[in-house]
Symmetry: C2
Subunit: 314 residues, 2 copies
């Protein structure tokens, strides 16, 4: 008989995180490994399956899990376990991830978008507990987003709802990786912050360029570096517009800011929220609640498990 | 005993429309009157109540309606029958419209936002029939929007969800009436189209300025007027960004374009939809469905009645 836990997996651009999660939201064990280098879909399926089986094997006396719930860094149709493309995971496209892993593992497998999982994790056990509705920004290399309504993700009709990073907020603005101009991602992501700093500071040497990270820019801003302060202020203004657009268009009870870049904390989130407050419908400006996510790397694991227990009823 | 119909009322910036609506969506009778000039809230309540009572009295042998369902041109908290402000109806603020009309009429009264009612009308009996989810743009003097999910409007936690007109799509763009810069409303509303034409054509005489309407600009564009064509193309590009932002962020099955400006039809909607298709997530570009609303002035009446029958269970 299977136990009352699931294996949750969070496949990001850099790491694969694994966790055993109980129905009450307790993370029993965790493991982090590097993302496998995969030049093809079947190689990726095999490598993920190997890591999951090894993790399960290391759990010794635990009964078999109910199944595997996996959050993946790419636009996903969770009803079909299908990933449209994985720009940050080997650039693969058209992945029947759910079906393939199910076959390799001999266990039920559920696949959802990683940002959606992180939002559900915060909703279940983190900064979003008790909210009737929330929107979570995930700021990292890119900018993701997820909408929780009625205790579940609103994924839209084709699974991509929440893509705030690819809404245009500055029609004539800088070019985005997606090919458009002025997407929020081109203005407020870690990549945008680094690129903007390099450009303004006129850094030419490849070695010096490589040393610039978003974290470094935030630290320089805190230390009073004028260029870094300007770069962070611009990113905060863009994020503020994104927050206000979400508030005016979707009007959720709570807006969360998560992802690696959110660790900059008050340096970025405070001015962004202040700018958003100037932009929302004035009678409601005090109803705008912006909070930092607080589960960190556990959010994605917990959200995947929540989907398994609550949506799929495992 | 009351009959099986409701009085639906649509209070816009110019007209008050009234209709008797049956549970099957049949509009039994209609009337249109000018919006009353009201310098205060109680004057507005009284004038609306007078018009509704006169309309009911003229219905002769019909039994009394189940109640009054009213769509209002302003941000509304429909659970409380409360209107935050009425910029196009005398500039009044803080209207306890539901409670006041209920007292004056001695009938149940339901109040909702007019754009939301129009979207529900199209969903019930018009261009949105059968859609699982839809977003409707209402293009007129301003730009409104409404989201239908699960057979009802998603109004957000404070009733203002759908305000696509006041999302920023061009951070450095023209000033909007709301005080912000680059709102969709400042780029694609009837007002924006007229203002842009007057500016580009360098029209100075107040008489000539007054003669320019959005309809006139569309007609001139069709006749080949270069300035008008440029103005319409710019509005279509802005609307296209708005459509793509909604598709990426909310991902509804269907996007409808309604409101007076939508009568320009293909001149505006076709290039806007084409531009949106360039901006959405490429694998889904053929899933983007943009349609013109088709109920015209009846949409708001029918949607208000739908709320009474379906949400309130009258």
């Amino acid at each position: 008989m299977n136990g009352s836990h699931v294996v949750a997996v969070d496949v990001g651009g850099t790491n694969v995180r694994l966790g055993m999660i109980r129905e009450d939201g307790e993370v029993i064990r965790r493991r982090r490994t590097k993302i496998p280098e995969a030049t093809g879909a079947s190689m990726l399926y095999q490598a993920l399956s190997d890591r999951i089986l090894a993790f399960m094997a290391s759990n010794g006396n635990l009964p078999a899990p109910k199944g595997v719930a996996l959050g993946f860094a790419g636009p996903t149709d969770s009803s079909a376990g299908y990933v449209y493309c994985a720009p940050n995971v080997g650039g693969l496209v058209d992945l029947s991830l759910g079906r393939s892993l199910q076959r390799l593992l001999g266990l039920p497998v559920l696949v959802a978008n990683d940002a959606n999982c992180a939002a559900l994790g915060e909703f279940w056990c983190g900064a979003g507990m008790g909210a009737r509705s929330l929107f979570m920004f995930t700021l990292g290399t890119g900018v993701g987003g997820s909408l929780v309504i009625g205790g579940d993700i609103w994924e839209g009709e084709w699974g991509i709802a929440g893509e705030i990073g690819h809404t245009v907020i500055d029609a004539g603005g800088p070019k985005c990786n997606c090919g458009k101009r002025g997407c929020l991602e081109a203005l407020a992501s870690g990549t945008a912050i680094v690129r903007d700093y390099i450009r303004r500071a006129g850094i030419r040497s490849p070695g010096k360029r490589k040393a610039i990270t978003a974290k470094a820019v935030f630290e320089r801003a805190k230390q009073g570096d004028g260029i870094a302060k300007k770069v962070v202020a611009d990113a905060a203004r863009a994020l503020g517009i994104g927050i206000a657009n979400v508030f005016n268009l979707i009007n959720p009870e709570l807006i969360l800011i998560g992802g690696g870049i959110s660790r900059a904390g008050a340096t970025l989130i405070k001015p962004a929220a202040a700018h958003a407050r100037e932009l929302v419908f004035p009678p409601l400006k005090h109803n705008l609640k912006v909070r930092k996510a607080r589960l960190g790397d556990d959010a994605g694991l917990l959200g995947a498990a929540y989907l398994a227990f609550r949506r799929a009823g495992w």
